[in-house]
């Protein structure tokens, strides 16, 4: 069990003793039933979760972003056919069958959301964080994106357009943040290390360590 004071749930005030958690009990009951009926294999469940925790994650997306920053040809491919360009780096699969890249620039800032559920580009960003899946973000970012960004510590210039992409289909969006200034000396790997998960959702910006940013 982790400590999670800001969790979006009304049911998280349980103690460390999971035997008292009704959701734990309900889950185990269903799992036992399905295993005994021969419908699921516990090893499969564990392998699925481990894959979601380890195979995918924002380091994948960061590699896509860094490559787009240093390789104009790749950036162009990403613009034209993000699915193929991203697959070429070995990132593909569930919740990322159809991809599009949204390039932030001096005029436009992109943000992604799924107001209807929790669609998210798993292959490049991993499983979504709690706040992305929870009602406050889903309800508010489409109507007051700048106010939401402010809660992430992000202030955009007044004249910048803000485009909020609601993931209502199986298209999955990846924001390509702007490359920070004074990074000409950094190689692709060093650049990738700068790219945060939130900057690829659009709720963060990329900055050099030590500089003010999100």
């Amino acid at each position: 069990m982790h400590d999670h004071p800001h969790h979006d749930s009304p049911h998280h005030d349980h103690g460390p003793d999971n035997r008292l958690d009704p959701m734990e009990a309900r889950t185990r009951a269903l799992e036992t039933l399905l295993v005994e009926k021969g419908l699921v294999d516990p090893a499969t469940i564990e392998a699925i979760v481990q894959s979601c925790e380890e195979r995918i994650g924002p380091r994948n997306g960061a590699r896509v972003v860094a490559k787009a920053w240093v390789d104009p040809e790749f950036a162009e491919w990403l613009k034209q056919d993000a699915t193929a360009a991203i697959n070429s780096l070995g990132f593909a699969g569930r919740q990322s069958e159809h991809l599009a890249a949204l390039f932030n620039d001096a005029e436009t800032h992109h943000i992604i959301v799924c107001t209807l559920c929790s669609c998210y580009p798993w292959a490049v960003l991993g499983l979504p964080p709690s706040w992305y899946k929870s009602p406050p973000y889903r309800s508010r970012v489409v109507i007051e994106p700048r106010k939401v960004l402010a809660e992430f510590g992000v202030e955009l210039p007044e004249e910048m357009r803000v485009r909020v992409w609601d993931s209502t289909s199986e298209m999955r969006y990846l924001v390509i943040p702007q490359r920070p200034a004074n990074t000409e000396h950094l190689d692709e790997e060093a650049l990738a290390a700068l790219v945060t998960r939130d900057s690829m959702i659009g709720t963060g910006l990329v900055s050099l360590p030590g500089e003010a940013a999100q």
Binding site: L34, I48, M160, T168
Partner: protein, 219 residues
């Protein structure tokens, strides 16, 4: 249907409260629910769209009163019950009393990598040319779907502009209800903030949705 999942523009849910230390899972059971839901998908009783619909069919009280994976668990129980893979008696007692329907489709651990790594693309061959092109002015339908739909209510009956064509994709509105894939052209449609929210919109903001062709009409 305008169910509890339809959150865009609604008030009252509080601050976003991003927490960089927040873990992906908050308890072991959440991990199990994720894995179990994906594993049960391979039984082939329901589509991804139907499983989304099962979540939004929870009552608003249950939906807003549950954690994220709590919603998943309740929906999974309902899907398994609806398709007869478990019975209400079994769920209540925790004891098996009916034979399984599709044990031969149990996902083996060896299939995990390929199932997750390949996914299930939903683009399909088109049977007709796309009705709209980027730049076209369109209006979303005013119809409130009685079943599953991916047209959020905030974008219903609104004028917008097509900005991209994504291809021809499986239609969730039918695929969620065992009425087939009925693929349609899928478009990215942009709405200026003031069209959606009037004077409350933030200047220079817009919202984009992906809309199937039957969601759209010309202006």
């Amino acid at each position: 249907m305008i169910g509890p999942q339809d959150l865009g523009g609604r008030a009252g849910f509080g601050p976003v409260a991003p927490d960089p230390t927040d873990p992906l899972f908050h308890a072991e059971w959440e991990r199990t629910v994720l894995g179990m839901t994906l594993a049960c998908g391979s039984l082939g009783h329901w589509t991804l769209d139907e499983s989304r619909h099962a979540r939004e069919c929870l009552s608003p009280q249950a939906y807003y009163g549950s954690t994220y994976y709590g919603i998943w668990l309740q929906a999974l129980e309902n899907l398994l019950l609806t398709h007869g893979e478990i019975t209400a008696e079994e769920l209540a007692s925790g004891t098996v009393s009916a034979p399984p329907l599709r044990p031969e489709r149990k996902m083996p651990v060896t299939a995990v990598a390929s199932v997750l790594g390949t996914g299930a693309p939903v683009d399909r061959p088109a049977s007709a040319p796309a009705r709209f092109a980027p730049g076209d002015a369109v209006r979303t339908t005013a119809t409130v779907s009685p079943g599953h739909t991916r047209l959020p209510s905030y974008a219903r009956d609104k004028p917008g502009t097509v900005v991209a064509i994504h291809g021809c994709h499986v239609l969730p509105d039918t695929n969620a209800h065992a009425q087939g894939e009925q693929p349609q052209w899928l478009y990215a449609v942009e709405f200026p903030g003031h069209v959606l929210w009037g004077d409350t919109a933030e200047p220079g903001s817009s919202v984009l949705i992906d809309a199937w062709e039957s969601y759209l009409g010309p202006i």
